[in-house]
């Protein structure tokens, strides 16, 4: 780079708790930016008529999904000690966003979004049939070579082959009437699939006996090349 403008990048791991389950990714990002401003951190902004805070997120989380760990990179204009930054940010984060870890990156890297390549989810839902039916449905899904989900948004519809994004077999645990599905989803430059979409395929196509509307979805991990996004720098 010709112009050496000093900037200091901090990678932050936070949660998206139950209180924020129904907040969109954009609103979640907005809540974090307001928290950074309340914390009085010297965030860097883009130039121009309509300046934006220099902050980038790893991977957008669907509405209705909570997360044990989300990541964002924040660019600042001063090299404050990470402990100090963490303390100030912690005090300014709203209920439902908890600060897990914060560290300063030693060098500027690619975007967080490019680093994240896999996400783990759990889906908790009540069973409407037997555990045996549930196991059969999950086994059939896991055995299927291909499975197409018809994604309809207000703007367009398209067909997505889901199995290419399912990194390992969907696991099932049952406890009485309650079931938990665990899934690993690939995030690729050309696309991915949402855990809710896998769930609706399981229910609608494979006869999984669960009430999809009552499901609680949670992202449990987000990794790059098998490592936590906080470790990836080392």
């Amino acid at each position: 780079m010709a112009e050496m403008k000093l900037s200091f990048i901090y990678r932050v791991a936070v949660t998206k708790g139950e209180a924020l389950r129904y907040i969109s990714h954009l609103d979640y990002a907005g809540a974090i930016q307001r928290a950074i401003r309340r914390a009085g951190l010297p965030a860097a902004y883009s130039e121009g008529f309509n300046p934006h805070m220099k902050i980038s997120f790893a991977s957008a989380l669907a509405v209705g999904v909570t997360s044990d760990v989300e990541y964002f990179d924040l660019e600042m204009t001063e090299p404050l000690p990470p402990l100090d930054v963490a303390k100030r940010l912690k005090a300014a984060l709203p209920p439902g966003i908890e600060l897990l870890e914060l560290r300063r990156l030693r060098k500027r890297k690619g975007t967080l979004m490019a680093e994240a390549d896999e996400a783990g989810y759990t889906v908790d839902l009540p069973l409407t049939g037997t555990a045996e039916q549930a196991r059969t449905a999950v086994a059939a899904f896991n055995a299927a070579a291909e499975c197409v989900f018809h994604r309809a948004t207000p703007k367009k519809t398209r067909d997505i082959e889901v199995k290419q994004y399912v990194a390992e077999d969907v696991a099932l645990e049952t406890d009485g009437d309650a079931a938990r599905l665990t899934m690993k989803i690939r995030i690729t430059p050309t696309g991915s699939v949402k855990p809710g979409e896998v769930l609706s395929l399981l229910v609608d196509r494979f006869g999984f006996p669960g009430d999809g509307k009552a499901a609680g979805l949670c992202r449990r991990s987000l990794t790059g090349r098998g490592k936590s996004l906080l470790e990836i720098d080392d």
């Binding site: 389950r21 129904y22 609103d27 307001r34 309340r38 008529f49 009552a214």
Partner: protein, 618 residues
């Protein structure tokens, strides 16, 4: 505590409207407070959360260690259906407590079309809709906001009303409640209401009875108890600068209508537009000082993290120290990249220069309100704007790069002729041509928005008959025929909604059964064009044998007793009469803000005075 399950929230639009948990929301332990006050606006979350008055009251009440204020808004119809199916009562966003468990439920009544939502929310809260049917444990249902200058159509549904600025009264009301409760609630509900009646600014509708003559004309609202005063005058903050202010508003997660810091520069506007109720209701002008505004701006920015601040008032460009204020704030918040907006632009080039300095977003365009299409009619309504003013203002805007202008007008004003309607089209065309002349090419977008005039109580036009639906319809078509330039976009309001607003605005207690029936039939969110169903209302009027035209289309005589005269903003009827006469003569009245007293009587009646930094005797 009300629990919301994923199957419920997953099935409704914008579930975050119902889940609370926002930054700066105040959650208190119910066991540790003596008074729980639910604050509401009978509209959806995004609208209710944008109301400045409620934000202030929320903070003022929550500053008291003995009181907890919580919020509740109207669930959208999909959520309402889901709640009714599951028998979930209306609840508060802070602690998910059923609203019926609160001591007070306060509604901010911003305009008449929200009334059916009040009934619907009471019903959802499992609180008897009619005040007379409420038992000892029920909350006291309180109304406030601009509609209190004629609340008679909804009087039967409320226990009490706060007339004027709520911050000036609610503290006394809560004190009275805590004292009454501490004594063991002597004489029950009525015992408290009689105590409240002794407070200035509190109107208890059940202590009065309307009288009508044989012809059905309103005669009087007769007090039934010695505690009931013949007239309740508004309360207001005499020293607005020193009054408690909002410093830490609740920050929503989802976008709301006014999603920014609101810095209130002053209360009141005395420009004296004769159609405007707010201009009378919030008199006199009381400014905040520059140091105080600077302090409040800092507190709110630090407490919210917002990057946008609106300099709010009825006519912000009239603030006496606006330029130094803008310079100061822009310096204070330069590093924080705060952007500023001036919501109410005056029609002059000073305003354009300021808007330019504030770098208001160009593409959304600038908005001006000439209100009427000809100079004659603008003089009738005392809108002190000339065509030259408008052309100078839009010209300045075009030279500074704006490409879009919105112009607001009304139709159905007193003395209006077809020439005045055609004048709207002509004025809009002149604006288009001015752009072409300045820029040497076409490319401007002029939006003409025309609302249907609703005569309001306590204005010089309170005696004037509203235009009929047929007349509004004819005028809307006439205007459309005269707008030929494709650069002009013409929007107009649904006259059926304006008619209903007109009926309610100058109605009396005989409208309560109509409202009730319309609500029972399914009327709600009447202010939302996609939700408004006129048939519910027409059948309700028919069923109750009430002729809406009696209220909105009838010319009232000056000696006719008016059903709203007991809740007063302090203005003298003689002043309104004189202003009517001057309107008929197209004569102007100057602003008293920096000039001479115009004799409206508000300051004298209420013992207050104009506070303005540029006033000679200030």
């Amino acid at each position: 505590m009300i629990e919301l399950t994923p199957d419920l929230l997953g099935a409704v639009t914008k579930p975050a409207r119902y889940t609370g948990g926002e930054w700066n929301a105040v959650r208190k332990d119910a066991a540790k407070v003596a008074c729980r006050f639910a604050l509401s606006m009978p509209d959806v979350y995004e609208v209710g959360m944008s109301n400045l008055g409620l934000k202030i009251l929320y903070e003022v009440l929550n500053c008291r260690p003995d009181t907890a204020a919580e919020r509740v808004y109207a669930p959208w119809p999909d959520m309402e259906t889901a709640m009714r199916e599951r028998r979930l009562p209306l609840y508060s966003l802070e602690t998910f407590t059923a609203i019926r468990e609160f001591d007070f439920l306060g509604f901010s009544l911003q305009y008449e079309m929200c009334y059916t939502n009040v009934l619907n929310m009471l019903d959802l809260a499992e609180i008897p809709v009619r005040a007379a049917e409420r038992g000892e444990g029920a909350p006291f249902v309180v109304g406030g906001g601009p509609c209190v200058y004629n609340v008679e159509p909804v009087a039967d549904f409320f226990d009490l009303f706060v007339i004027g600025e709520g911050e000036a009264v609610l503290g006394e009301l809560v004190d009275a409640f805590i004292a009454w409760k501490g004594e063991g609630c002597p004489e029950g509900r009525r015992g408290f209401l009689l105590r409240a009646a002794a407070l200035d600014g509190i109107y208890i509708p059940s202590l009065y009875e309307p009288r009508y003559d044989e012809a059905g004309m309103f005669q009087s609202l007769t007090p039934l108890h010695p505690a009931a005063r013949p007239v309740i005058y508004k309360r207001l903050l005499a020293d607005f600068d020193a009054a408690p202010a909002m410093t830490a508003p609740v920050v929503p997660y989802i976008g709301i209508v006014h999603d920014r810091i609101m810095l209130e520069l002053f209360r009141g506007c005395s420009r004296g537009c004769r159609f405007c109720q707010a201009g009378i209701a919030y008199r006199p002008v009381r400014e905040r000082s520059l140091p105080r505004l600077r302090e409040l701006a800092r507190q709110m920015a630090d407490a919210t993290g917002y990057d946008e601040m609106s300099l709010t008032s009825l006519s912000s460009a009239d603030y006496s120290c606006l330029e130094p204020l803008v310079d100061t704030l822009m310096t204070d918040f330069a590093a924080a990249r705060m952007s500023f907006s001036l919501p109410s632009l005056r029609v002059d080039s000073f305003s354009i220069e300021l808007a330019d300095k504030l770098q208001q977003i160009r593409k959304s365009g600038l908005t001006f309100a000439p209100e009427a299409g000809t100079q004659r009619l603008r003089d009738v309504i005392n809108k002190g704007v000339t065509e030259e003013d408008l052309m100078a203002a839009v010209g300045a805007a075009f030279r500074r790069g704006w490409k879009a202008v919105k112009l607001y007008f009304m139709m159905g004003l007193p003395t209006e002729t077809d020439e005045d309607i055609i004048g709207i089209a002509r004025l809009a065309k002149k604006v288009v041509d001015l752009y072409t002349e300045i820029k040497g090419k076409r490319g401007v977008k002029v939006t003409v928005s025309v609302s249907c005039f609703v005569p309001k109580p306590y204005t010089p036009f309170q005696w004037f008959p509203q235009n009929t639906l047929a007349e509004f319809d004819r005028k809307q078509r006439l205007l459309k025929e005269h707008i030929r330039d494709r650069a002009i976009q013409y929007n107009y309001h649904d006259a059926r909604v304006s008619r209903l607003e007109g009926v309610m605005a100058r109605g009396d207690r005989r409208l309560a059964p109509v409202l009730y029936e319309a609500w029972r039939a399914g009327a709600k969110f009447d202010g939302w064009s996609d939700q408004f169903r006129e048939e519910y209302w027409l059948s309700a009027f028919g069923k109750c044998g009430v002729d809406p035209a009696f209220y909105n289309e009838r010319a009232r005589s000056f000696d006719e007793p008016l059903p709203w005269s007991h809740t007063s903003p302090g203005v003298e009827t003689g002043f309104l009469r004189r202003e009517w006469e001057k309107a008929m003569a197209a004569a102007l009245t100057a602003d008293c803000r920096r000039g001479d007293c115009t004799g409206c009587g508000v300051c004298q009646r209420l013992g207050v005075r104009v506070v303005d930094g540029r006033r000679k005797d200030g």
